[in-house]
Point group: C2
Chain length 110, copies 2
DNA sequence: CTATATGTATAGATATTCTATAGGAGGACG
DNA sequence: CGTCCTCCTATAGAATATCTATACATATAG
């Protein structure tokens, strides 16, 4: 990723990718573009962050890739969420909610 | 830190420390205990994470330490927020809010 | 046929955090 | 007194995700 906040996303990228792929299969850059679009440009997932993440997720069995053709007639690898990936997404969501809650408690302490 | 979520806190520890010190000066372990207490044990900032962070923040001029005595008669270094630190805390809060908002947008997309 | 956009990929650097360990010093207790 | 436990600070070393920068291949445009 990039664009200031950088570090704050650590450990969040996986969740964002899984969530994005849970709506529809996409190829790598498609995922990146979708995230950038949805966040209004706040998150920009660059190739050097994206592909290692995709490979990691595939390694773990949470997503599955297959070669195809992009809308622009280019060779592209489309990823879809596996059922294990769907479970994983659920875990990460709960985890994230817990973290946000905990941080909120600290930030609102008086 | 520790306790599962680990990575999700990257870049957040500084903000939590600054916020905690903005309420009152505390020594290192005091900060750690306060955070653990407020979050109900969800965050456990361990010494190996805490002290490097404190030193980093002092280096940056956001906090200032001075030796004193703890409530238990032990040699302790008390840290207080500087005015630069207060400004910094404001920046980090805004940054954090923006990140949470962006992630929320992704996670609620349909 | 050159330039540009698309799509995937890797190498190397960076930095924060974690695990593990260390040690001094006060207080309690026998 | 001597030992043990707790408090408080501290550092070394490892792990790991991400960033920057670069590379390459192909389709389309001009």
């Amino acid at each position: 990723m990039a664009e200031a906040k950088t570090d704050l996303l650590r450990g969040t990228l996986d969740m964002l990718i899984l969530k994005t792929l849970s709506l529809q299969p996409l190829h790598g850059l498609g995922v990146s573009q979708r995230i950038q679009q949805v966040t209004g440009g706040v998150f920009q997932v660059k190739p050097g962050s994206l592909f290692p993440a995709l490979h990691r997720l595939e390694q773990e069995g949470w997503i599955e890739g297959s070669w195809g053709e992009s809308a622009n007639n280019r060779r592209a690898k489309y990823y879809r969420l596996t059922s294990a990936g769907r479970r994983r997404l659920g875990e990460e969501k709960r985890n994230w909610a817990q973290v946000v809650l905990a941080i909120t408690k600290v930030m609102e302490a008086t």
